[in-house]
Amino acid sequence: MFRLEITPSHLQAATEHAAASYPEECCGFLIGRFDAATEVTAVERILPVNNERQESRHNRYLISPETVLAANKEARALGLDIAGYYHSHPDHPARPSEFDRDHAWPGLSYVIVSVEGGRVADTRSWRLSDDRERFEEEEIFQKEAAS
């Protein structure tokens, strides 16, 4: 089973971003590396960014290609990759929508934070199947960084 390894402080940074953005959606990058042999994504950094949508920000988010390019450059400078993204679902379950599926690629982790009434209710991580038919949930494993 696929697994997302993330430190409690990085996970907290993402969920706090989600709560602070309520009732709008937030978004950001998971910077790290994916090991195909073990099917483990290790998150090394969280990179919060602005939701670039001008309207419908309560149920849509957008990160422009220019921001993706900048994040990719930052990740590469650290010897890492964009390993996935996180976003929030205000007053909505932490499950991918049809819209999420239409706008995703396999090979990445998609963390969704459900925020109910301003409080974080649930956090789950998903990966798109190679045939684009469905998202499969992956385990979120909280792990302290190696010292």
Binding site: N59, L62, I63, P65, H89, P96, S97, F99, G107, D130
Partner: protein, 96 residues
């Protein structure tokens, strides 16, 4: 003529782990067509069933978004580099 297409990391599993794929074509559209001919598993992740480029998939020709040029009809020259850059979109809606 030969142009190089840079493949984003998550899609390299569909190109045999190649990060750069050299293709032939005289326009962006032809170069992309040659890419998906060489690596058919990429097709569904870049194009809709109707054959249109997915709305979140952006093509940059030497660092310029082709939507600001002539889109897929933009001519390419030998040695050009084409990058596939996603914009990231999503959000709550009808949950699956």
């Amino acid at each position: 003529m030969s142009v190089t297409i840079q493949i984003p990391t998550p899609l390299r599993r569909f190109t045999g782990d190649q990060g750069d794929v050299v293709v032939e074509g005289t326009t962006v559209g032809e170069a992309m067509q040659d890419l998906t001919r060489r690596h058919p598993a990429l097709q569904r992740h870049l194009y809709t069933d109707d054959g249109a480029l997915r709305s979140f998939v952006n093509l940059f020709l030497n660092d310029e978004d082709v939507r600001h040029l002539q889109k897929e009809a933009t001519p390419v020259a030998a040695g050009d580099t084409l990058s596939i850059i996603p914009s990231i979109a999503g959000g709550a809606g009808s949950a699956l």
